[in-house]
């Protein structure tokens, strides 16, 4: 299982959780699992064609998946994956 770390602006859609445990062998599996567990998050991450929205950044460890294999980037048990908001993103105060 992989730990997906959720940025503050998206925690509204994960029941306040800052980390979600997801299964799968690549990023697309992890995101499918996330959106199955929390369907309300889906339109924030994917466009109408089902593609990852262009400003959504995912890091496996230190590496942005845009510099690896995109949503086909492999993940393994114990990996920590981080969803990064745009830097002016908000905190629910």
């Amino acid at each position: 299982m992989t730990t997906l770390r959720i940025p503050t602006p998206l925690r509204t859609y994960t029941g306040g959780k800052s980390e979600v445990t997801v299964g799968g062998v690549k990023i697309s599996d992890a995101l499918n699992d996330l959106t199955t567990q929390f369907p309300a998050i889906k339109p924030h991450l994917f466009n109408e064609s089902g593609e990852l929205r262009p400003f959504v950044n995912l890091f496996v460890g230190e590496h942005n998946i845009k510099d690896l294999q995109g949503v086909d980037t492999p993940i393994k048990d114990g990996d920590k994956v981080m969803l990064i908001p745009s830097i002016a993103g908000g905190r629910t105060s």
């Binding site: 770390r5 959720i6 940025p7 503050t8 602006p9 998206l10 509204t12 800052s18 924030h44 466009n47 929205r53 262009p54 400003f55 959504v56 950044n57 845009k66 981080m82 969803l83 990064i84 908001p85 745009s86 830097i87 002016a88 993103g89 908000g90 905190r91 629910t92 105060s93």
Partner: protein, 328 residues
Amino acid sequence: MTLLDFRLTESNTIPLDSLAFHVGDTPLLPLRRLSRSLSPRTRVFVKAEWFNPGGSVKDRPALNIIQNAILHGDLGNGKRLLDSTSGNMGISYATFGAALGIPVTLAVPASASSERISILKALGAELILTDPLEGSDGAILKARELAAERPDLYWYANQYNNDANWQAHYLSTGPEIIRQTNGQVTHFVAGLGTSGTFTGTSRYLLEQLPDVNVIAFQPDAPFHGLEGLKHMPSAIKPGIYDESMVGTPLEVRTEAAHEMVIRLAREEGLFVGISSGAAVVAALQVASELDEGVVVTVLPDAGYKYLSDKKLWEQDWSPTSPDVGGDV
């Protein structure tokens, strides 16, 4: 009138580096190809803020904040200027800090683009990188914490709550827009980050031209890619934010801003950053509803600091009906 003129008329005792003289008085450029579908009596103009020495609109508030702090003895006494920033404000602080010999410490989200981090390091700023999951609000909280812990070391500039932020726009951006449009501006459109640009400029315009319409815009959702802008309902509200003046902001989707930066580059020759794309989306939306009017918006920076996002600049886009010629 530039900020420097204002300060010099008030007090000519402040030693200033010549860089400060070039802050403000940015060009007001017409949108030509992008405004073709508008009423022929409606024009859209943009303030080209990348002409500032630090490369963005943030030179205005940064300089005014620093000058006020020097005037009041808060800086220039060995203390470090401390603030949180998503990038451009930090670059402006670091630029004038370097020029004036004022050390600068910045809390910056670790997710800030590599270009911005490199520029800040080049200018000698001390960086404290904050949790990227917390965004710019995480950087705000870190700066507050440092300011509370070490008041002996830091002077907290606090751009979100410092009146010198919006006053910079009241003193410079507003008067420039009146002068450059010969007082004919009918609509002013600006995005909300600290809200300084919108608040200060709008206050001045409304005082001078009571019939002017001022329209704010913000990202359409809490999770967005419009760097420098805030989705106010889900963010820490800046102290200088004036809700009564903002009314109901327009909302801009990140993808619409991305498409617009490409159109601005390829149809207008304006290579600008993402928040500038959002500003033009909002300004054109306002202009499209007018039979007659002069719409002005502010383009905060150029596109150079976003080049690492390669996919953004490689989007397919060609004008549907090339319009050759005209004045450049």
